[in-house]
């Protein structure tokens, strides 16, 4: 049996709102195998992004158990979580999350700097990742000079620069046209084989979800269905 990259058991999470506590996740059970490409789908407000935040250590779980790459996230301190995010996880956001004041190369390199990689090594690694996403030629351009698709590819390069074992993507094609979205989807789908990374994508983009090995649907804070390569109903 393959080693699980992610094990989630009885995970519940709620937010305080003006109308009282709003339960977003309600007893989630989920396993993601190492090297698996998983898509999480569901309507807006179904808890997809919250689940991704919990898997990436952006938040600590309120109830239940989240074990990622052997780390029990509920038991890590702030600095340990930061270290976990820097070295184990690569994030891709819908809004790209690039710094406009830095060039493409510097944006990619920044993740290496944060992880504490030596200057020369992280520069080389950043160039490699930009090459992987096909943007080495645009290394000295700042994000405002890049198209949406290019920006997202820079963001993916940044997510890969520290060679993470888990890549988490939150609506990565949400702001892209079809052509760019297809390119990004190709890139993400290739990561398990080229980089040996486990990929979890949160999306309601059917085309993107179709590329996953498996799709899980969140509804009412619970997981419904765990189809492999199945079509996702709207």
């Amino acid at each position: 049996m393959p080693v699980p990259a992610v094990v989630v058991e009885e995970l519940s999470h709620s937010f305080d709102t003006a109308r009282g506590a709003l339960t977003v996740l309600d007893g989630i059970e989920l396993r993601v195998t190492t090297g698996e490409h998983l898509a999480v789908v569901g309507r807006s407000g179904s808890g997809k992004s919250t689940l991704l935040s919990l898997l990436g250590g952006l938040e600590t779980p309120q109830h239940g158990r989240v074990e990622v790459l052997g780390h029990l996230l509920g038991e890590l301190g702030r600095d340990e979580l930061a270290r976990f995010r820097a070295t184990q996880v690569g994030f891709v956001f819908q809004h790209f999350g690039l710094l406009d004041t830095l060039t493409a190369l510097e944006n990619v390199e920044l993740a290496g700097a944060i992880a504490g990689a030596p200057r020369a090594a992280r520069r080389a690694q950043a160039e490699t990742r930009l090459e992987q996403v096909g943007l080495l030629a645009r290394r000295d351009h700042r994000p405002p000079a890049l198209s949406g698709g290019e920006r997202q590819r820079v963001a993916i390069a940044r997510a890969l620069v520290n060679e993470p074992r888990l890549v988490l993507a939150d609506e990565p094609t949400g702001n892209l046209d079809d052509e760019a979205a297809a390119t990004v989807a190709d890139l993400l789908a290739s990561l398990p084989s080229t980089n040996g990374a486990t990929v979890v994508v949160v999306t309601h983009d059917h085309a993107l979800a179709d590329r996953a090995d498996r799709v899980v649907r969140l509804r009412g804070g619970r997981v419904h269905g765990a189809d492999s390569g199945a079509a996702v109903p709207g």
Binding site: S49, G57, L58, E59, A82, H95, G97, D100, I114, G116
Partner: protein
């Protein structure tokens, strides 16, 4: 993240909102300029005073009277003389031998009659009047506690030169700005003495024609006329050779009517006065006055420094405000930084450094402007002093102004940035995925 990486990131961010950055830096610069200018000007003035005091200039001068001292003499600014006691050359030599004494300037004040000029420059007739001529050794002008307004002091030993005071100017219907007008005019001055005449005691005059060569700012030893020591001694001798020894005309029987003693520094004024009292003479010194002037100036300094500091604190608050605004705008960016692994302290350092850079740049610009401004103020002050017939000043640029002008605002800016930076560092990485 290494400091170098943090610095690179912070310096890039400083250029993100040029308008806001320029305004913030300008506020720091203006506050620094204000403080720098105040400190420079104040230090210039203070340095001059301290120099004078430390070098034993006229500020640490003591006036010795031809009288025995009162018991509490050393505690008094004013001479409270007892019985008459003559000051002669032997006394001068005794005082000069005191270890705390730098210089002794003998003074002779003697009564004179002035019969000319007959009229003022404006044509109004004036009568003759009695006055005192004060003789000093003008070969040592730096010791003489008077400030020239125009012209010069009488030449040493001159029997024809006279410098007049402001009160003489007023008698002539002039103010200090018109001092030049009096130069070159003639004064006919007589020393009187009492003689036995056929009809009883009479006053016989011996007259001189003196040329006004200078105007001085202060009353000189109670007289309006400053002459050479030789001239004053000659006239005093004439008056005291009268049948009454000069008493009727108020001439002193002491060969010298006073000494101006310069101590070796302001701290030596007290001991010197005690020693002079032991020699048997009354003395006066403005040391208590100096002390109170000094205290007063201290208060003024504190107030001015406080004004500058308040401006700097306001500027620091400006930096804090600018950073808070920046953090509000950059919540998601901060979230991304944390999502890709930045620790709280990395974010803290980025924002503190941004604040520091604003303070540093503002400090450099402000120090430059401040020094420039103090040069301008210095020029205006010199113009004013020149108008008043006073010597000008040279600006003193203390090295700590340069250091403090840059380090101070930087530290204050960092302090001002502390709260916003801390707030930024505590932001949740979840901000990265919030819509």
């Amino acid at each position: 993240m290494s400091w170098r990486d943090v610095a690179a990131l912070a310096s890039r961010n400083a250029g993100r909102r040029p308008g806001r950055v320029v305004l913030t830096v300008l506020a720091v610069a203006l506050a620094t300029a204000l403080l720098t200018a105040l400190v420079t000007i104040a230090r210039t003035a203070e340095t001059r005073v301290l120099d004078q005091v430390a070098e034993g200039g006229p500020v640490s001068g003591i006036s010795v009277s031809p009288a025995e001292p009162s018991e509490d003499q050393a505690d008094q600014d004013v001479a409270r003389g007892g019985d008459f006691r003559a000051i002669d050359d032997a006394v001068i030599s005794d005082v000069l031998d005191l270890p705390t004494v730098r210089e002794v300037l003998p003074v002779v004040s003697t009564p004179v009659f002035v019969v000319r000029p007959f009229e003022r420059p404006d044509g109004r007739r004036i009568g003759g009047f009695r006055e005192r001529a004060v003789g000093v050794d003008t070969s040592r002008p730096t010791l003489i506690p008077v400030t020239p307004l125009a012209g010069r002091l009488p030449a040493p030993g001159s029997m024809v030169d006279v410098a007049v005071t402001e009160s003489y100017l007023r008698r002539m219907g002039l103010d200090r700005t018109e001092a030049e007008q009096i130069l070159g005019t003639e004064i006919e001055l007589g020393a009187g003495r009492l003689v036995d005449g056929p009809g009883g005691q009479e006053i016989s005059g011996r007259w001189r024609r003196l040329q006004v060569v200078g105007v001085v700012a202060q009353g000189a030893g109670g007289g309006q006329l400053v002459v050479s020591l030789e001239l004053a001694r000659s006239d005093q001798a004439w008056t005291t050779s009268g049948t009454d020894g000069g008493v009727e005309l108020d001439a002193s029987a002491s060969p010298y009517t006073g000494l101006f003693v310069v101590a070796k520094g302001i701290d030596q004024v007290g001991p010197t006065r005690e020693a002079i009292a032991r020699l048997g003479f009354a003395s006066s010194a403005p040391e208590n006055l100096i002390a109170s002037v000094d205290n007063y100036l201290g208060v003024v300094e504190i107030v001015l420094a406080a004004v500058g500091l308040i401006a700097l604190v306001v500027a620091a608050l400006g930096i804090a405000n600018a950073l808070l605004a920046a953090i509000r705008e950059r919540r998601r960016e901060i979230g991304v930084l944390k999502a890709i692994g930045a620790r709280d302290r990395d974010v803290l350092r980025i924002f503190l450094l941004e604040a520091g850079v604003l303070g540093f740049v503002g400090g450099i610009i402000g120090t430059g402007i401040g020094i420039l401004a103090s040069q301008v103020v210095g020029a205006i002050v010199n113009g004013y002093l020149a108008d008043q017939g006073l010597a000008g000043i040279a600006l003193v640029l203390p090295p700590e102004v340069f250091v403090g002008g840059v380090v101070g605002p930087t530290l204050l800016a960092v302090a001002g940035g502390l709260l916003p930076a801390r707030r930024a560092s505590r932001l949740s990485p979840r901000e990265a995925v919030s819509a």
